[in-house]
Amino acid sequence: MSDQNQIFVISEEVSLIGELVSAARQLNNDGFSTIAAVVIGDQSDVQRVGSFAVDQIYWIEQVPEGYLVEDVFLTLWELVNQHKPTVVLIGATTSGRLICGRLAARLDVSAITDVRSFEQVKDGLAARHMIFAGGAERLERPRRLPVLFTIAKGQFEADIVQSHTAPQVIPVPFRLPEKRAILRERKDLPPLSVNLAEAKRVICLGRGIAHQEDVAQVEQLAQVLGAEIACTRPLSEGLGWLPRERYIGISGAYIKSDLYLGLGVSGQVQHTIGITNARVVVAVNRDPDAPIFKQADYGIVADLYEVVPALIQGLHEA
Protein backbone atom coordinates (compact mmCIF):
# COMPACT_ATOMS: atom_id res chain seq x y z
CA MET A 1 0.00 0.00 0.00
CA SER A 2 1.08 3.52 -0.56
CA ASP A 3 0.41 6.35 1.85
CA GLN A 4 -0.50 9.79 0.68
CA ASN A 5 2.43 11.16 -1.37
CA GLN A 6 5.31 11.54 0.98
CA ILE A 7 8.48 13.58 0.86
CA PHE A 8 11.23 12.09 3.01
CA VAL A 9 13.98 14.18 4.51
CA ILE A 10 16.95 12.28 5.88
CA SER A 11 20.09 13.42 7.60
CA GLU A 12 22.27 11.97 10.30
CA GLU A 13 23.08 15.61 11.08
CA VAL A 14 20.01 16.80 12.93
CA SER A 15 21.18 20.39 12.43
CA LEU A 16 20.65 20.06 8.66
CA ILE A 17 17.08 18.79 8.84
CA GLY A 18 15.59 22.29 9.12
CA GLU A 19 17.10 23.26 5.75
CA LEU A 20 15.94 20.02 4.19
CA VAL A 21 12.40 20.58 5.45
CA SER A 22 12.40 24.06 3.90
CA ALA A 23 13.45 22.53 0.59
CA ALA A 24 10.72 19.90 0.97
CA ARG A 25 8.13 22.57 1.68
CA GLN A 26 9.13 24.38 -1.49
CA LEU A 27 8.51 21.18 -3.44
CA ASN A 28 5.16 20.74 -1.73
CA ASN A 29 3.69 24.15 -2.56
CA ASP A 30 0.48 22.50 -3.73
CA GLY A 31 0.18 20.81 -0.34
CA PHE A 32 -0.54 17.38 -1.83
CA SER A 33 2.25 15.63 0.02
CA THR A 34 3.14 15.08 3.62
CA ILE A 35 6.66 15.69 4.85
CA ALA A 36 8.31 13.00 6.93
CA ALA A 37 11.68 13.45 8.61
CA VAL A 38 13.92 10.58 9.61
CA VAL A 39 15.65 11.49 12.85
CA ILE A 40 18.57 9.56 14.29
CA GLY A 41 18.99 10.88 17.79
CA ASP A 42 17.45 11.41 21.19
CA GLN A 43 14.21 12.94 22.44
CA SER A 44 15.56 16.50 22.22
CA ASP A 45 16.48 15.95 18.56
CA VAL A 46 12.94 14.79 17.88
CA GLN A 47 11.58 17.90 19.57
CA ARG A 48 13.89 20.14 17.58
CA VAL A 49 12.83 18.58 14.29
CA GLY A 50 9.19 18.80 15.36
CA SER A 51 9.48 22.59 15.44
CA PHE A 52 10.08 22.63 11.67
CA ALA A 53 6.50 21.60 10.94
CA VAL A 54 6.91 18.09 9.61
CA ASP A 55 3.94 15.72 9.48
CA GLN A 56 5.72 12.57 10.58
CA ILE A 57 8.95 11.77 12.32
CA TYR A 58 10.46 8.33 11.89
CA TRP A 59 12.57 8.11 14.98
CA ILE A 60 15.61 5.86 15.09
CA GLU A 61 16.77 6.33 18.64
CA GLN A 62 20.23 4.98 18.34
CA VAL A 63 22.85 3.40 16.18
CA PRO A 64 24.33 0.66 18.39
CA GLU A 65 27.80 1.11 19.86
CA GLY A 66 30.53 0.11 17.44
CA TYR A 67 28.40 0.67 14.33
CA LEU A 68 28.78 3.44 11.78
CA VAL A 69 25.98 5.91 11.28
CA GLU A 70 25.81 4.67 7.67
CA ASP A 71 24.84 1.24 9.00
CA VAL A 72 21.38 2.78 9.37
CA PHE A 73 21.05 2.09 5.65
CA LEU A 74 19.05 -1.12 5.96
CA THR A 75 16.57 0.57 8.32
CA LEU A 76 16.20 3.47 5.87
CA TRP A 77 15.85 1.15 2.92
CA GLU A 78 12.98 -0.66 4.60
CA LEU A 79 11.27 2.62 5.46
CA VAL A 80 11.58 3.79 1.85
CA ASN A 81 10.39 0.45 0.57
CA GLN A 82 7.39 0.47 2.87
CA HIS A 83 6.23 4.06 2.41
CA LYS A 84 7.35 4.65 -1.17
CA PRO A 85 8.03 8.37 -0.91
CA THR A 86 8.00 10.26 -4.21
CA VAL A 87 10.94 12.46 -3.21
CA VAL A 88 13.83 11.78 -0.83
CA LEU A 89 15.98 14.72 0.26
CA ILE A 90 19.28 13.90 1.95
CA GLY A 91 21.74 16.24 3.66
CA ALA A 92 24.92 16.59 1.57
CA THR A 93 27.41 15.27 4.11
CA THR A 94 29.97 12.54 3.48
CA SER A 95 27.70 9.98 5.15
CA GLY A 96 24.65 11.39 3.38
CA ARG A 97 26.30 10.90 -0.02
CA LEU A 98 27.09 7.27 0.77
CA ILE A 99 23.57 6.55 1.97
CA CYS A 100 22.13 8.35 -1.04
CA GLY A 101 24.23 6.33 -3.49
CA ARG A 102 23.25 3.04 -1.95
CA LEU A 103 19.55 3.97 -1.98
CA ALA A 104 19.80 5.10 -5.61
CA ALA A 105 21.41 1.81 -6.63
CA ARG A 106 18.75 -0.29 -4.93
CA LEU A 107 15.98 1.80 -6.43
CA ASP A 108 17.65 1.90 -9.88
CA VAL A 109 17.32 5.67 -10.05
CA SER A 110 19.89 8.42 -10.41
CA ALA A 111 20.64 10.76 -7.58
CA ILE A 112 21.22 14.44 -8.19
CA THR A 113 23.62 15.70 -5.59
CA ASP A 114 24.43 19.10 -4.12
CA VAL A 115 21.20 20.61 -5.44
CA ARG A 116 21.20 24.39 -5.24
CA SER A 117 17.64 25.10 -6.34
CA PHE A 118 14.51 23.50 -7.76
CA GLU A 119 12.34 24.44 -10.67
CA GLN A 120 8.85 23.23 -11.53
CA VAL A 121 8.86 22.30 -15.21
CA LYS A 122 6.10 21.06 -17.49
CA ASP A 123 6.68 17.39 -16.79
CA GLY A 124 7.48 17.67 -13.15
CA LEU A 125 10.37 18.64 -11.02
CA ALA A 126 13.84 19.74 -12.09
CA ALA A 127 16.91 20.45 -10.00
CA ARG A 128 19.87 22.68 -10.62
CA HIS A 129 23.40 21.79 -9.64
CA MET A 130 26.96 22.70 -10.57
CA ILE A 131 29.02 20.77 -13.08
CA PHE A 132 32.50 21.29 -14.51
CA ALA A 133 33.88 22.38 -11.17
CA GLY A 134 31.48 25.30 -10.99
CA GLY A 135 32.02 26.33 -14.61
CA ALA A 136 28.44 25.50 -15.50
CA GLU A 137 25.05 24.80 -13.99
CA ARG A 138 22.88 21.99 -15.19
CA LEU A 139 19.12 21.71 -14.90
CA GLU A 140 17.97 18.10 -14.81
CA ARG A 141 14.65 16.34 -14.58
CA PRO A 142 14.60 12.85 -13.08
CA ARG A 143 12.43 10.51 -15.13
CA ARG A 144 11.81 7.80 -12.55
CA LEU A 145 10.37 7.80 -9.05
CA PRO A 146 11.36 8.19 -6.36
CA VAL A 147 13.51 11.22 -6.92
CA LEU A 148 16.70 11.32 -4.86
CA PHE A 149 18.47 14.58 -4.12
CA THR A 150 21.18 15.66 -1.76
CA ILE A 151 20.87 19.29 -0.76
CA ALA A 152 23.93 21.50 -0.53
CA LYS A 153 24.40 23.14 2.85
CA GLY A 154 23.22 26.72 3.20
CA GLN A 155 21.00 26.82 0.08
CA PHE A 156 17.70 26.76 1.93
CA GLU A 157 16.91 28.53 5.17
CA ALA A 158 15.45 26.58 8.07
CA ASP A 159 12.13 28.02 9.31
CA ILE A 160 10.66 27.34 12.69
CA VAL A 161 6.89 27.19 12.26
CA GLN A 162 5.00 28.37 15.32
CA SER A 163 1.42 27.15 15.08
CA HIS A 164 1.82 23.71 13.73
CA THR A 165 0.19 20.52 14.91
CA ALA A 166 2.67 18.25 16.59
CA PRO A 167 4.06 15.65 14.21
CA GLN A 168 3.23 12.03 14.53
CA VAL A 169 6.33 10.37 16.00
CA ILE A 170 6.86 6.79 14.87
CA PRO A 171 9.68 4.91 16.59
CA VAL A 172 11.62 2.73 14.17
CA PRO A 173 13.93 -0.01 15.47
CA PHE A 174 17.48 -0.12 14.10
CA ARG A 175 17.89 -3.09 11.79
CA LEU A 176 21.28 -4.78 11.94
CA PRO A 177 22.99 -4.61 8.56
CA GLU A 178 23.78 -7.75 6.54
CA LYS A 179 27.41 -6.75 6.12
CA ARG A 180 29.47 -4.03 7.64
CA ALA A 181 32.89 -2.65 8.38
CA ILE A 182 34.16 -3.15 11.93
CA LEU A 183 34.94 0.06 13.74
CA ARG A 184 38.37 -0.24 15.39
CA GLU A 185 39.00 3.31 16.42
CA ARG A 186 37.31 6.67 16.21
CA LYS A 187 38.94 9.99 16.89
CA ASP A 188 37.36 13.43 16.92
CA LEU A 189 39.10 15.78 14.55
CA PRO A 190 40.18 19.12 16.00
CA PRO A 191 37.30 21.60 15.85
CA LEU A 192 37.25 23.74 12.72
CA SER A 193 39.39 26.81 13.13
CA VAL A 194 37.15 29.12 11.14
CA ASN A 195 33.81 29.44 9.40
CA LEU A 196 34.75 31.43 6.30
CA ALA A 197 31.11 31.78 5.30
CA GLU A 198 30.67 34.13 8.26
CA ALA A 199 33.87 36.17 7.79
CA LYS A 200 33.55 39.92 7.12
CA ARG A 201 36.92 40.21 5.39
CA VAL A 202 38.92 37.48 3.74
CA ILE A 203 42.50 37.38 2.49
CA CYS A 204 43.01 34.50 0.13
CA LEU A 205 46.39 33.01 -0.74
CA GLY A 206 47.05 31.40 -4.11
CA ARG A 207 49.96 29.68 -5.79
CA GLY A 208 51.77 33.02 -5.95
CA ILE A 209 52.82 32.40 -2.34
CA ALA A 210 56.24 30.82 -2.71
CA HIS A 211 56.93 29.31 0.72
CA GLN A 212 54.92 28.16 3.68
CA GLU A 213 56.89 30.55 5.91
CA ASP A 214 55.48 33.45 3.92
CA VAL A 215 52.03 32.76 5.28
CA ALA A 216 53.21 34.47 8.50
CA GLN A 217 53.73 37.77 6.64
CA VAL A 218 50.19 37.61 5.36
CA GLU A 219 48.91 36.81 8.84
CA GLN A 220 50.31 40.14 9.94
CA LEU A 221 48.28 41.87 7.25
CA ALA A 222 45.22 39.85 8.24
CA GLN A 223 45.58 41.07 11.79
CA VAL A 224 45.79 44.72 10.77
CA LEU A 225 42.88 44.31 8.39
CA GLY A 226 40.77 42.19 10.74
CA ALA A 227 40.52 39.50 8.07
CA GLU A 228 40.43 35.71 8.04
CA ILE A 229 43.04 33.85 6.02
CA ALA A 230 41.82 31.59 3.25
CA CYS A 231 43.49 29.84 0.34
CA THR A 232 42.92 28.08 -2.95
CA ARG A 233 42.57 24.30 -2.94
CA PRO A 234 46.17 23.36 -3.89
CA LEU A 235 47.58 25.19 -0.87
CA SER A 236 45.38 23.14 1.41
CA GLU A 237 44.89 19.73 -0.19
CA GLY A 238 48.10 19.57 -2.19
CA LEU A 239 50.63 21.35 0.00
CA GLY A 240 48.86 21.13 3.34
CA TRP A 241 49.90 24.67 4.31
CA LEU A 242 46.44 25.55 5.54
CA PRO A 243 43.62 23.37 6.93
CA ARG A 244 40.79 22.16 4.70
CA GLU A 245 38.20 24.52 6.11
CA ARG A 246 40.23 27.46 4.84
CA TYR A 247 40.01 26.78 1.16
CA ILE A 248 37.52 28.57 -1.01
CA GLY A 249 35.92 26.97 -4.03
CA ILE A 250 33.83 24.24 -5.48
CA SER A 251 34.29 21.61 -2.79
CA GLY A 252 35.33 24.11 -0.13
CA ALA A 253 33.94 27.30 1.38
CA TYR A 254 31.64 29.81 -0.28
CA ILE A 255 32.14 33.27 1.16
CA LYS A 256 29.87 36.30 1.34
CA SER A 257 32.30 38.72 2.94
CA ASP A 258 32.40 42.49 2.40
CA LEU A 259 35.96 42.23 1.16
CA TYR A 260 37.94 39.53 -0.62
CA LEU A 261 41.62 40.18 -1.22
CA GLY A 262 43.28 37.58 -3.43
CA LEU A 263 47.08 37.41 -3.21
CA GLY A 264 48.74 35.46 -5.99
CA VAL A 265 45.42 33.85 -6.89
CA SER A 266 45.14 33.12 -10.61
CA GLY A 267 41.34 32.96 -10.65
CA GLN A 268 40.39 29.55 -11.97
CA VAL A 269 36.69 28.92 -12.02
CA GLN A 270 36.90 26.15 -9.39
CA HIS A 271 38.00 28.84 -6.98
CA THR A 272 36.10 31.94 -8.12
CA ILE A 273 32.76 30.14 -7.85
CA GLY A 274 33.27 30.50 -4.10
CA ILE A 275 33.64 34.30 -4.21
CA THR A 276 30.67 35.28 -6.39
CA ASN A 277 28.85 36.57 -3.32
CA ALA A 278 31.72 38.65 -1.95
CA ARG A 279 30.85 42.36 -2.10
CA VAL A 280 34.20 43.83 -3.16
CA VAL A 281 36.87 41.70 -4.82
CA VAL A 282 40.51 42.84 -4.90
CA ALA A 283 43.21 40.94 -6.77
CA VAL A 284 46.99 41.19 -6.54
CA ASN A 285 48.94 39.18 -9.08
CA ARG A 286 52.19 39.59 -10.98
CA ASP A 287 50.62 38.25 -14.15
CA PRO A 288 48.52 40.93 -15.90
CA ASP A 289 46.71 38.17 -17.82
CA ALA A 290 45.60 36.28 -14.71
CA PRO A 291 41.86 35.58 -15.12
CA ILE A 292 41.18 36.89 -11.62
CA PHE A 293 41.49 40.50 -12.85
CA LYS A 294 38.38 40.08 -15.01
CA GLN A 295 36.44 39.13 -11.91
CA ALA A 296 37.85 41.75 -9.59
CA ASP A 297 36.63 45.22 -8.68
CA TYR A 298 40.18 46.43 -8.05
CA GLY A 299 43.36 44.90 -9.31
CA ILE A 300 47.05 45.57 -8.70
CA VAL A 301 49.50 44.03 -11.14
CA ALA A 302 52.53 43.62 -8.90
CA ASP A 303 54.52 41.23 -6.77
CA LEU A 304 52.47 40.40 -3.70
CA TYR A 305 55.66 40.48 -1.62
CA GLU A 306 55.86 44.21 -2.33
CA VAL A 307 52.15 44.84 -1.98
CA VAL A 308 51.69 43.14 1.40
CA PRO A 309 54.16 45.38 3.35
CA ALA A 310 52.83 48.46 1.54
CA LEU A 311 49.28 47.52 2.57
CA ILE A 312 50.33 46.96 6.19
CA GLN A 313 52.00 50.34 6.24
CA GLY A 314 49.09 52.05 4.50
CA LEU A 315 46.61 50.60 6.96
CA HIS A 316 48.76 51.68 9.93
CA GLU A 317 48.85 55.25 8.61
CA ALA A 318 45.13 55.34 7.97
Binding site: L68, T93, T94, R97, G101, R102, A104, A105, R106, D108, V109, S110, A111, I112, D114, V121, A126, M130, F132, A133, G135, A136, E137, L139, E140, R141, P142, R143, K179, A181, I182, L183, R184, E185, R186, K187, D188, E237, I250, S251, D258, L259, I273, T276, N277, V280, V281, F293, K294, Q295, A296, D297, Y298, G299, I300, A302, D303, A310, L311, L315
Partner: protein
Protein backbone atom coordinates in the same frame (compact mmCIF):
# COMPACT_ATOMS: atom_id res chain seq x y z
CA UNK B 1 43.15 -11.18 -6.49
CA UNK B 2 42.81 -8.33 -8.96
CA UNK B 3 41.94 -4.73 -8.20
CA UNK B 4 39.69 -2.59 -10.38
CA UNK B 5 40.10 1.17 -10.46
CA UNK B 6 37.26 3.07 -12.10
CA UNK B 7 38.30 6.29 -13.78
CA UNK B 8 36.22 8.93 -15.48
CA UNK B 9 37.54 10.22 -18.78
CA UNK B 10 35.93 13.59 -19.40
CA UNK B 11 36.43 17.01 -20.97
CA UNK B 12 38.81 19.13 -18.91
CA UNK B 13 36.81 21.81 -17.04
CA UNK B 14 39.69 24.23 -17.71
CA UNK B 15 38.91 24.02 -21.43
CA UNK B 16 35.27 25.01 -21.11
CA UNK B 17 34.20 27.74 -23.53
CA UNK B 18 31.55 30.13 -22.26
CA UNK B 19 29.59 32.07 -24.88
CA UNK B 20 28.40 35.65 -24.38
CA UNK B 21 24.88 34.23 -23.98
CA UNK B 22 26.04 31.99 -21.15
CA UNK B 23 26.16 28.90 -23.36
CA UNK B 24 28.74 26.30 -22.47
CA UNK B 25 30.73 24.30 -24.98
CA UNK B 26 33.15 21.43 -24.56
CA UNK B 27 33.67 21.09 -28.32
CA UNK B 28 37.33 22.08 -28.11
CA UNK B 29 38.05 20.66 -24.69
CA UNK B 30 40.74 18.06 -24.27
CA UNK B 31 39.56 14.81 -22.68
CA UNK B 32 41.60 13.32 -19.87
CA UNK B 33 41.44 11.22 -16.69
CA UNK B 34 39.80 13.15 -13.90
CA UNK B 35 42.15 14.67 -11.34
CA UNK B 36 40.26 13.00 -8.47
CA UNK B 37 40.72 9.60 -10.09
CA UNK B 38 44.51 9.69 -10.29
CA UNK B 39 44.98 9.15 -6.52
CA UNK B 40 42.55 6.19 -6.73
CA UNK B 41 44.62 4.65 -9.50
CA UNK B 42 47.81 5.22 -7.53
CA UNK B 43 46.29 3.64 -4.41
CA UNK B 44 45.32 0.55 -6.40
CA UNK B 45 48.74 0.25 -8.01
CA UNK B 46 50.54 0.57 -4.67
CA UNK B 47 48.42 -2.17 -3.08
CA UNK B 48 49.05 -4.49 -6.02
CA UNK B 49 52.79 -3.77 -5.92
CA UNK B 50 52.86 -5.06 -2.35
CA UNK B 51 50.33 -7.88 -2.53
CA UNK B 52 50.36 -8.95 -6.17
CA UNK B 53 47.47 -9.29 -8.57
CA UNK B 54 46.61 -7.15 -11.52
CA UNK B 55 45.31 -3.59 -11.53
CA UNK B 56 42.56 -3.23 -14.09
CA UNK B 57 41.59 0.32 -14.96
CA UNK B 58 37.97 0.62 -16.08
CA UNK B 59 36.20 3.48 -17.78
CA UNK B 60 32.89 3.90 -19.58
CA UNK B 61 31.85 6.63 -21.96
CA UNK B 62 31.29 7.70 -25.56
CA UNK B 63 33.90 7.08 -28.26
CA UNK B 64 35.72 10.29 -27.23
CA UNK B 65 37.24 8.30 -24.33
CA UNK B 66 38.87 5.93 -26.79
CA UNK B 67 41.97 7.99 -27.59
CA UNK B 68 45.42 6.47 -27.69
CA UNK B 69 46.93 9.32 -25.69
CA UNK B 70 44.50 8.79 -22.81
CA UNK B 71 44.89 5.02 -22.90
CA UNK B 72 48.65 5.34 -22.77
CA UNK B 73 48.39 7.82 -19.92
CA UNK B 74 46.37 5.41 -17.79
CA UNK B 75 48.57 2.41 -18.56
CA UNK B 76 51.80 4.30 -17.95
CA UNK B 77 50.62 5.12 -14.43
CA UNK B 78 50.82 1.51 -13.37
CA UNK B 79 47.57 -0.17 -14.45
CA UNK B 80 48.20 -3.59 -16.00
CA UNK B 81 45.15 -3.57 -18.23
CA UNK B 82 42.56 -1.12 -19.38
CA UNK B 83 38.94 -1.97 -20.04
CA UNK B 84 36.81 0.56 -21.90
CA UNK B 85 33.06 0.24 -22.26
CA UNK B 86 32.24 2.45 -25.19
CA UNK B 87 28.77 3.49 -26.31
CA UNK B 88 27.50 6.84 -27.56
CA UNK B 89 24.50 6.71 -25.19
CA UNK B 90 27.00 7.12 -22.35
CA UNK B 91 27.69 10.70 -23.47
CA UNK B 92 25.15 12.12 -21.04
CA UNK B 93 24.86 9.15 -18.72
CA UNK B 94 23.60 10.03 -15.27
CA UNK B 95 24.71 8.24 -12.14
CA UNK B 96 22.33 5.25 -12.47
CA UNK B 97 23.44 4.44 -16.03
CA UNK B 98 27.13 4.87 -15.24
CA UNK B 99 26.88 2.69 -12.14
CA UNK B 100 24.92 0.01 -13.96
CA UNK B 101 27.50 -0.20 -16.74
CA UNK B 102 30.52 -0.22 -14.42
CA UNK B 103 28.94 -2.82 -12.13
CA UNK B 104 28.13 -5.06 -15.11
CA UNK B 105 31.69 -4.72 -16.41
CA UNK B 106 33.21 -5.56 -13.00
CA UNK B 107 30.84 -8.51 -12.70
CA UNK B 108 32.25 -9.88 -15.95
CA UNK B 109 35.86 -9.68 -14.74
CA UNK B 110 37.58 -12.55 -13.05
CA UNK B 111 38.81 -12.62 -9.48
CA UNK B 112 38.04 -9.02 -8.57
CA UNK B 113 37.04 -8.24 -5.01
CA UNK B 114 38.17 -4.67 -4.59
CA UNK B 115 37.27 -1.56 -6.58
CA UNK B 116 38.64 1.92 -6.09
CA UNK B 117 36.97 5.14 -7.14
CA UNK B 118 37.99 8.78 -6.95
CA UNK B 119 36.16 11.25 -4.73
CA UNK B 120 34.11 12.49 -7.71
CA UNK B 121 34.38 12.91 -11.45
CA UNK B 122 36.14 15.94 -12.87
CA UNK B 123 33.14 16.98 -14.95
CA UNK B 124 30.00 16.12 -12.96
CA UNK B 125 31.29 15.55 -9.42
CA UNK B 126 28.15 13.79 -8.22
CA UNK B 127 30.30 11.76 -5.79
CA UNK B 128 27.96 8.83 -6.28
CA UNK B 129 29.62 6.27 -8.52
CA UNK B 130 31.55 4.30 -5.90
CA UNK B 131 28.54 3.85 -3.62
CA UNK B 132 26.16 3.05 -6.46
CA UNK B 133 28.48 0.55 -8.15
CA UNK B 134 29.32 -1.14 -4.85
CA UNK B 135 25.67 -1.47 -3.86
CA UNK B 136 24.71 -2.83 -7.28
CA UNK B 137 27.40 -5.48 -6.86
CA UNK B 138 26.21 -6.24 -3.34
CA UNK B 139 29.60 -5.23 -1.94
CA UNK B 140 30.45 -3.21 1.12
CA UNK B 141 30.70 0.48 0.12
CA UNK B 142 32.59 3.26 1.87
CA UNK B 143 33.62 6.77 0.88
CA UNK B 144 36.15 9.32 2.20
CA UNK B 145 38.82 6.63 2.46
CA UNK B 146 42.16 8.22 3.24
CA UNK B 147 44.40 5.25 3.81
CA UNK B 148 44.18 1.56 3.00
CA UNK B 149 46.23 -1.57 3.67
CA UNK B 150 45.75 -5.32 3.76
CA UNK B 151 45.83 -6.87 7.23
CA UNK B 152 45.04 -10.44 6.23
CA UNK B 153 43.60 -12.32 3.31
CA UNK B 154 40.24 -10.83 2.44
CA UNK B 155 40.45 -8.08 5.02
CA UNK B 156 41.55 -4.47 4.68
CA UNK B 157 42.23 -1.86 7.27
CA UNK B 158 41.20 1.59 6.16
CA UNK B 159 41.23 5.06 7.58
CA UNK B 160 38.28 7.25 6.82
CA UNK B 161 37.97 10.99 7.36
CA UNK B 162 34.54 12.48 7.84
CA UNK B 163 33.59 16.07 8.55
CA UNK B 164 34.21 15.80 12.28
CA UNK B 165 35.94 12.52 12.96
CA UNK B 166 38.53 10.05 11.79
CA UNK B 167 37.73 6.34 11.79
CA UNK B 168 39.85 3.20 11.54
CA UNK B 169 37.86 0.31 10.14
CA UNK B 170 38.36 -3.34 9.25
CA UNK B 171 36.73 -3.92 5.91
CA UNK B 172 35.94 -7.45 4.73
CA UNK B 173 36.10 -7.93 0.95
CA UNK B 174 34.50 -7.54 -1.50
CA UNK B 175 34.43 -3.78 -1.16
CA UNK B 176 33.99 -0.62 -3.23
CA UNK B 177 36.02 2.27 -1.82
CA UNK B 178 35.90 5.92 -2.86
CA UNK B 179 39.16 7.55 -1.82
CA UNK B 180 39.98 11.14 -0.96
CA UNK B 181 42.28 13.09 -3.25
CA UNK B 182 45.00 13.14 -0.59
CA UNK B 183 45.20 9.35 -0.08
CA UNK B 184 48.48 9.39 -1.99
CA UNK B 185 50.41 11.43 -4.50
CA UNK B 186 49.90 10.12 -8.07
CA UNK B 187 53.18 9.14 -9.71
CA UNK B 188 54.58 10.72 -12.83
CA UNK B 189 55.09 8.05 -15.43
CA UNK B 190 58.73 7.14 -16.08
CA UNK B 191 60.01 6.84 -19.63
CA UNK B 192 60.19 3.08 -19.14
CA UNK B 193 56.57 2.97 -17.97
CA UNK B 194 55.50 5.00 -20.98
CA UNK B 195 57.25 2.58 -23.33
CA UNK B 196 55.75 -0.43 -21.54
CA UNK B 197 52.27 1.09 -21.68
CA UNK B 198 51.97 0.51 -25.41
CA UNK B 199 52.40 -3.24 -24.88
CA UNK B 200 49.72 -3.56 -22.22
CA UNK B 201 46.29 -4.91 -23.17
CA UNK B 202 43.35 -2.62 -23.85
CA UNK B 203 40.00 -4.41 -23.93
CA UNK B 204 37.00 -2.74 -25.51
CA UNK B 205 33.53 -3.87 -24.60
CA UNK B 206 30.21 -2.79 -26.03
CA UNK B 207 27.10 -2.63 -23.85
CA UNK B 208 26.00 -5.92 -25.36
CA UNK B 209 29.30 -7.52 -24.30
CA UNK B 210 28.43 -6.83 -20.67
CA UNK B 211 24.84 -7.95 -21.07
CA UNK B 212 23.10 -4.59 -21.28
CA UNK B 213 20.57 -4.31 -24.08
CA UNK B 214 18.82 -1.12 -23.30
CA UNK B 215 20.19 1.72 -21.22
CA UNK B 216 17.25 4.08 -20.72
CA UNK B 217 18.23 7.53 -19.47
CA UNK B 218 17.04 8.01 -15.90
CA UNK B 219 17.45 11.78 -16.06
CA UNK B 220 16.65 14.31 -18.74
CA UNK B 221 19.08 17.20 -19.12
CA UNK B 222 17.05 20.36 -19.71
CA UNK B 223 19.71 23.07 -19.78
CA UNK B 224 23.42 23.66 -19.30
CA UNK B 225 24.44 27.22 -18.66
CA UNK B 226 27.26 29.25 -17.19
CA UNK B 227 26.29 30.35 -13.68
CA UNK B 228 25.34 34.01 -13.39
CA UNK B 229 28.46 36.08 -12.79
CA UNK B 230 28.54 38.98 -10.42
CA UNK B 231 29.48 42.02 -12.48
CA UNK B 232 32.71 43.57 -11.24
CA UNK B 233 34.30 46.96 -11.80
CA UNK B 234 37.50 45.59 -13.30
CA UNK B 235 39.60 48.63 -12.34
CA UNK B 236 43.34 47.99 -12.53
CA UNK B 237 45.20 50.45 -10.30
CA UNK B 238 48.39 51.66 -11.95
CA UNK B 239 51.48 53.56 -10.80
CA UNK B 240 54.07 52.41 -8.31
CA UNK B 241 53.15 49.82 -5.71
CA UNK B 242 52.80 52.59 -3.08
CA UNK B 243 50.51 54.61 -5.35
CA UNK B 244 48.40 51.61 -6.26
CA UNK B 245 48.05 50.60 -2.61
CA UNK B 246 47.09 54.15 -1.57
CA UNK B 247 44.50 54.30 -4.32
CA UNK B 248 43.18 50.88 -3.33
CA UNK B 249 42.76 51.90 0.30
CA UNK B 250 40.93 55.08 -0.73
CA UNK B 251 38.59 53.10 -2.92
CA UNK B 252 37.93 50.54 -0.21
CA UNK B 253 37.13 53.33 2.22
CA UNK B 254 34.66 54.78 -0.28
CA UNK B 255 33.08 51.36 -0.67
CA UNK B 256 32.70 51.21 3.10
CA UNK B 257 34.57 47.92 3.52
CA UNK B 258 37.45 49.19 5.63
Amino acid sequence: MNIVVCVKIAPDPEDLEIGSDGSVSTAHAEWSIGGFDLPALEAGVRLAEIHGGKVIALSAGPSSINQSKIKKDILSRGADELVLVVDETLQDASTAETARVLAAAIHKMEDVQLAFFGEGSADLYFQQTGAQVGERLGWLCLNAVQDVRFIEHGMLEIQRTLDVEMQVLDVPLPAALSVTSDICEPRLASMRAILQASRKPVIEWSLADIGIENLAASVEILAVQAPPRTSRKGVVLGGSVEEAVRSLLNNLKKEGVL
